[in-house]
């Protein structure tokens, strides 16, 4: 039995769904940030799986660029968490309702 692209796609979808569930249901900003990072990282898996099938380097180049985007997103997110904690002493999302309509 061979490992096919479908194996990696199903795994990528499961990991993306777990990250989405964490991003929606958790209240701690840090865990939400980690969940978003998990979603982005699972997309790397899908890119690499398709790159292996099509024998194109474009998938791997996109993976390198997405890795940079993950770093940027998480760095700014961590700075936001620290800033929010400094201002209000809390990292719970429910404590921030400035833009609530």
């Amino acid at each position: 039995m061979e490992i096919t692209t479908q194996h990696y796609l199903v795994l990528g979808v499961i990991l993306f769904a777990l990250g989405a569930v964490g991003a929606v249901t958790r209240r701690n900003m840090l865990v939400v940030l980690m969940s978003i990072g998990m979603m982005l990282s699972s997309s790397l898996l899908v890119f690499l799986a398709f790159a292996r099938v099509n024998l194109l380097p474009a998938g791997k180049s996109i993976v390198v660029i997405v890795m940079g985007l993950i770093i940027v997103e998480l760095a700014v997110g961590l700075a936001l968490v620290m800033s929010a904690h400094r201002r209000s002493g809390s990292t719970l999302i429910d404590d921030f309702s400035l833009l609530k309509g």
Binding site: I3, H7, L15, L18, V21, M34, P57, I65, L69, V72
Partner: protein, 166 residues
């Protein structure tokens, strides 16, 4: 190979579930490290050892930053004694297993020198050539994004009390 895939996939799903179900952020960060490690192995299994190494380096720096922030916010390391739970021992054992598998996968993976016709990311030289030629535009855009993020972080973490201290 398929057995290894299922083992690594199970570890990655289990660690991802632990990240979103643990109550303490510091524990979630530890499980996130295991998740990133398993993803690096999956990258190596997809015939991309260089991407696996890059992912490992990136994830180590991210986990270090997360651990620092989690320790700062939750006050861990202030003299309180921690008990090793069964889940932490299990996670540490899984991480050790994944490290051994990753090292073996990278050592045994043939990083062949492909001809210069076409593009390949299988060696650092080919990666540099591809990023500086064919993918120069997104690579430059990424550098601009990183610069912008550094400026944003500097602005966000600017302490208003610094002026008063001066």
């Amino acid at each position: 190979m398929i057995v290894l895939f299922y083992i690594v996939a199970t570890i990655s799903i289990f660690s991802a579930t632990a990240v979103i179900t643990r109550m303490r952020p510091f524990t979630s960060v530890c499980w996130l490290g295991l998740f990133y490690l398993s993803l690096s192995i999956l990258c190596a299994m997809l015939s991309a050892p260089l991407v696996a190494i890059l992912h490992l380096i990136v994830s180590i720096s991210l986990i270090a930053a997360f651990i620092l922030v989690a320790m700062t916010l939750s006050g861990i390391g202030e003299g309180r004694t921690r008990v090793m739970h069964f889940g932490m021992i299990l996670g540490a054992a899984a991480a050790g297993y994944l490290v051994i598998v990753l090292v073996l996968a990278i050592i045994r993976s043939p990083i062949t020198e492909t001809p210069l016709v076409g593009l390949s990311f299988e060696s650092p030289v080919r990666s540099a050539i591809a990023l500086m030629n064919e993918y120069a535009m997104p690579f430059a855009a990424l550098g601009f994004l990183i610069l912008t993020s550094v400026l944003a972080i500097t602005a966000l973490l600017d302490d208003p009390r610094a002026e008063e201290l001066k």
